[in-house]
C-alpha cells in the first residue's frame, strides 16, 4: 500500500517537475495549471503515504530518519504550494521537488521499515515536540532555498550582465519577502520545539538539558538564527548578508537534524 502510494507520489512530483522545468526553461505560461495540478496530486499521495505509514506502525511518521526526511519534505512542499502562484516560483520548485522525490525514494529503499520502539517516543510531549521541529525545519528549508535564489539573482543584477538566471528567477523583493516570512515562522517554531524538547527531557530524564549532541547543535543553530533575527530587527540586515546567514543557519540545522545521528548514537534516534 505505501509502496504504491510512494511510487504514485514520485510519479506525480516527477510530472509536476517536468512542467515546472518547461516553465523554467521556456517560460511557457500555459504549463502553470498542469504543474499546479500535479503538484497537488503529488502532495496528496505523499501525505496519504505518510498517513498510512503512521497508521500501520502506530507511530508518528517521524520515528526514523527516513520518515522524518519524507515528512519534512512533504511539509516544505505544502508550504511551497502557498507561494507557488507568485511570480517565477518555478525556480523554487526546480530545487524542492527533486528533494521531495529523493526523500520518498530514500524512505522506500533505505527506510528501516519497522523501527525499534523507543520508550521516550511514548511520552505525550513528544507528539508536540516532533511536529514543531518538523515544521520549523520545513519553514527554514524554504528560507534556505529562497536565500540561494536571492544570491544568484543579486549577483546577476550587480554584475550588470544579465544571463540565463536573470530572466528566470523571481525578483529580489519577492525572495526577500518570502524568505523573511518563512524565517520568522521557522524561528518561532524552532523556539517552541526546543522548549517542548526541554520539557520532554525533564519528564523523561529529570533534567531540562542532557547534553545530547543533538541538543547542543540545536541550540547552536538556534543561536545563529537568533543572531540573524536580531540583525534583521536592530541592524536592518537585509539582502545578501541575511541570505548568507540563512544559508549557513540551514546547513547547521541539517547537521543537527540528520548529520549528528550518523556520527553518534544518542537517545534521539535520528
Amino acid at each position: 500500500m505505501t509502496d504504491a502510494l510512494a511510487i504514485l507520489a514520485v510519479a506525480f512530483y516527477a510530472v509536476a517537475m517536468v512542467y515546472f522545468l518547461i516553465r523554467f526553461f521556456l517560460k511557457k505560461e500555459k504549463t502553470a495549471h498542469a504543474a499546479f495540478l500535479f503538484l497537488l496530486l503529488g502532495l496528496a499521495t505523499h501525505g496519504l503515504d505518510l498517513l498510512v505509514i503512521g497508521l500501520r506502525y502506530r507511530h508518528f511518521p517521524a520515528t526514523t530518519l527516513a520518515e522524518a526526511f519524507s515528512l519534512v519534505s512533504w511539509v516544505t512542499v505544502l508550504f511551497f504550494t502557498w507561494i507557488v502562484r507568485r511570480d517565477s516560483m518555478e525556480a523554487v520548485a526546480v530545487i524542492l521537488l527533486p528533494v521531495a522525490i529523493i526523500s520518498l525514494l530514500y524512505h522506500e529503499f533505505f527506510g528501516a521499515k519497522i523501527p525499534a520502539p523507543e520508550p521516550i517516543i511514548r511520552e505525550e510531549w513528544v507528539y508536540i515536540h516532533i511536529p514543531l521541529m518538523i515544521l520549523s525545519v520545513a519553514a527554514l528549508a524554504l528560507t534556505f532555498v529562497l536565500a540561494i535564489i536571492y544570491i544568484i539573482q543579486e549577483r546577476q543584477l550587480k554584475s550588470k550582465q544579465p544571463a540565463f538566471f536573470y530572466y528566470r528567477l523571481p525578483s529580489l523583493e519577492v525572495c526577500e519577502d518570502l524568505a523573511s516570512k518563512s524565517l520568522w515562522a521557522g524561528f518561532f517554531l524552532l523556539t517552541l520545539g526546543i522548549i517542548t524538547g526541554m520539557i520532554l527531557s525533564r519528564s523523561v530524564h529529570g533534567v531540562y538539558f542532557s547534553w545530547d549532541y543533538k541538543e547542543i547543535w540545536s541550540v547552536i543553530t538556534w543561536c545563529l538564527y537568533a543572531i540573524l533575527i536580531h540583525g534583521r530587527l536592530l541592524a536592518a540586515w537585509r539582502g545578501r548578508r541575511a541570505a548568507y546567514f540563512a544559508i549557513v543557519g540551514f546547513v547547521l540545522m541539517l547537521f543537527s537534524f540528520a548529520g549528528i545521528s550518523l556520527l553518534s548514537k544518542g537517545y534521539h534516534a535520528f
Binding site: L157, K160, P162, A163, Y167, S171, L172, E173, V174, R238
Partner: protein, 417 residues
C-alpha cells in the same frame, strides 16, 4: 482566390522612399476607395517602416502591375523610383508574410508590440470602408490569432529593449512590484522624463524632481505631477527615493558613495536603484559595491538591452516555426473555401455520371431514333441541371459564411472529391 502582396519595408527600402509612400491618416479612406475600383478585395498597410498592399483578385492575372500602377498614381511617384525596392508575395507565401508582419517578426525591433495595434487599425479601417471581403477578412483575423499565439508561446516580446523600458524591467527585478515606490529625478533629460512616465504607469507613486535651476525642476514637476525639491537638499532625498535617475550636465560626480552609505542607514538598507544616464557620469560607480544598491549607467543599460535583444532573436526562430506551420494550415483550409473549383469538380462528376447512365440505358433498350435519343438526353440533362442549379447557388452563398470550412469539407466528402 488569388492573394497578392506588393510592398516594401525597412528591410528593402531607404527611409526617404518610405516617407514619400507613407499615406497620412486623413488620406487613407480615399486611398482605400481608389483601391476598391481596382481590385475586389484590398487592404493597405502604411507605417513608417512599411508600405504594403494586399489584394485578393483572381480576375486579373497581371494584378502585380496593376498594383504597382495604383501605387504610382496614388502617391504621384514614378514607377521607376520604387519598383526596384518592391517585394511580391502570392497565395500561401502572402499569408505567411502577413502572419510574420502581424507577429512582429518582420519589425525593425523583433517583438515590438506596436505593429499588432497598427495592423488592427488598418483592418478596422478596411472593414469600415468595405474594401475587404470574406477572404481577406479571414486572413487578417487569423493573423491576429497567430500573433497572439506567438506572443503567448515564445519570449519574443518579453524582454525590454528600449533604454527606458530596460530601466523599468531592472526595477521590477529588484523591487518586484513598483506600486507605491518613490522616484527621484536629478536633472531633466529627455530620457529621464521618458523613464519616469514608464515608471509612473507601473505604479510609482511619488516623483521628486530636482535641478540646479529650481524653476526647471518646478516646471518638470508640474508636467508629471511630481514634487520639486531644491538641489541643495537632493542628498537628503536619497533616503526617501527607491529609484534615482540622474542626467545632469555636471562634470563631476554629484552623488557620492558617502551620501548613499548614509542614506542606506536611514532607509534601513531597503534596496535602492540608481540609474545614471548622464555622460560624463553623475554618480560615483563605487556605489554599486554597497549592499542593496544597484547602480546602472547608460552603457550598462545598453548592455542589458543588447542581451535582451539576443534573447528575443533566439525566440524568433521558434516564432518563425509557429508562423510557418500556421500559415500552411490556414492556406490549406482557405483553398477549400475557394468554392469555384469545388463546383467545377462536382459538375464534372455529375456530367460523367449522366453520360455513363445514358450509355448504359442505350445498351439495354437497343437502337433508338435520333428524336428518341435526344428526348432521353434532355430528360437526363434537365434532371441533373435542376439538382445542380439550386445547390450551386446555395454553395456559393455558403462560401461566405463564417463556419463554411466544415460545411464545404463535408460537401466534398459527399461527392467523394
Amino acid at each position: 482566390m488569388a492573394i497578392k502582396i506588393t510592398g516594401l519595408s525597412h528591410k528593402t527600402a531607404p527611409v526617404e522612399l518610405r516617407e514619400r509612400l507613407h499615406i497620412p491618416e486623413e488620406l487613407y479612406p480615399e486611398a482605400l476607395k481608389a483601391l476598391q475600383t481596382k481590385v475586389p478585395e484590398g487592404l493597405i498597410f502604411s507605417t513608417c517602416n512599411r508600405f504594403e498592399i494586399m489584394a485578393n483578385d483572381e480576375t486579373t492575372p497581371e494584378s502585380r502591375e496593376q498594383l504597382i500602377d495604383f501605387i504610382s498614381d496614388m502617391r504621384r511617384i514614378s514607377t521607376r523610383e520604387f519598383e526596384p525596392f518592391l517585394y511580391h508575395h502570392s497565395d500561401s507565401d502572402a499569408v505567411r508574410h502577413v502572419f510574420r508582419v502581424t507577429s512582429s517578426l518582420d519589425s525593425m525591433v523583433i517583438g515590438e508590440p506596436q505593429i499588432l495595434g497598427q495592423m488592427k487599425q488598418f483592418f478596422a479601417l478596411a472593414q469600415q470602408h468595405r474594401s475587404i471581403g470574406f477572404i481577406l477578412n479571414s486572413v487578417m483575423e487569423r493573423a491576429f490569432m497567430v500573433a497572439k499565439k506567438v506572443r503567448r508561446e515564445t519570449l519574443i516580446a518579453s524582454n525590454a529593449v528600449s533604454i527606458s523600458s530596460v530601466a523599468v524591467e531592472l526595477a521590477t527585478k529588484i523591487f518586484g512590484r513598483l506600486d507605491g515606490k518613490t522616484a527621484l529625478i536629478v536633472g531633466a533629460g529627455k530620457m529621464s522624463v521618458q523613464s519616469i512616465k514608464h515608471l509612473q504607469s507601473r505604479g510609482v507613486k511619488l516623483v521628486l524632481v530636482t535641478n540646479r535651476t529650481f524653476q526647471n525642476a518646478a516646471d518638470l514637476a508640474a508636467s508629471i505631477k511630481g514634487r520639486a525639491v531644491p538641489f541643495e537638499s537632493m542628498v537628503d532625498c536619497l533616503a526617501e527615493a527607491d529609484i534615482i535617475i540622474s542626467s545632469t550636465g555636471s562634470s563631476n560626480f554629484i552623488i557620492r558613495k558617502d551620501d548613499v552609505v548614509r542614506a542606506m542607514a536611514i532607509r534601513k538598507n531597503k534596496p535602492i536603484f540608481l540609474i545614471d544616464i548622464a555622460v560624463p557620469r553623475d554618480i560615483d560607480p563605487q556605489i554599486n559595491q554597497i549592499d542593496n544598491t544597484f547602480l546602472y549607467d547608460i552603457d550598462d543599460l545598453k548592455n542589458v538591452s543588447e542581451a535582451n535583444r539576443k534573447e528575443r532573436e533566439k525566440e524568433a526562430d521558434r516564432a518563425e516555426e509557429i508562423v510557418a506551420r500556421e500559415a500552411e494550415l490556414f492556406w490549406n483550409r482557405l483553398k477549400t473555401l475557394d468554392i469555384a473549383p469545388t463546383i467545377r469538380e462536382i459538375q464534372h462528376r455529375i456530367d460523367a455520371l449522366r453520360q455513363s447512365e445514358i450509355e448504359r440505358t442505350l445498351k439495354k433498350i437497343g437502337p433508338l431514333t435520333d428524336e428518341q435519343r435526344a428526348a432521353l438526353e434532355n430528360l437526363a440533362n434537365s434532371l441533373t441541371n435542376k439538382i445542380t442549379q439550386s445547390s450551386f447557388a446555395e454553395l456559393r452563398a455558403l462560401a461566405n459564411q463564417p463556419d463554411s470550412f466544415e460545411k464545404i469539407e463535408l460537401i466534398r466528402k459527399l461527392f467523394k472529391l
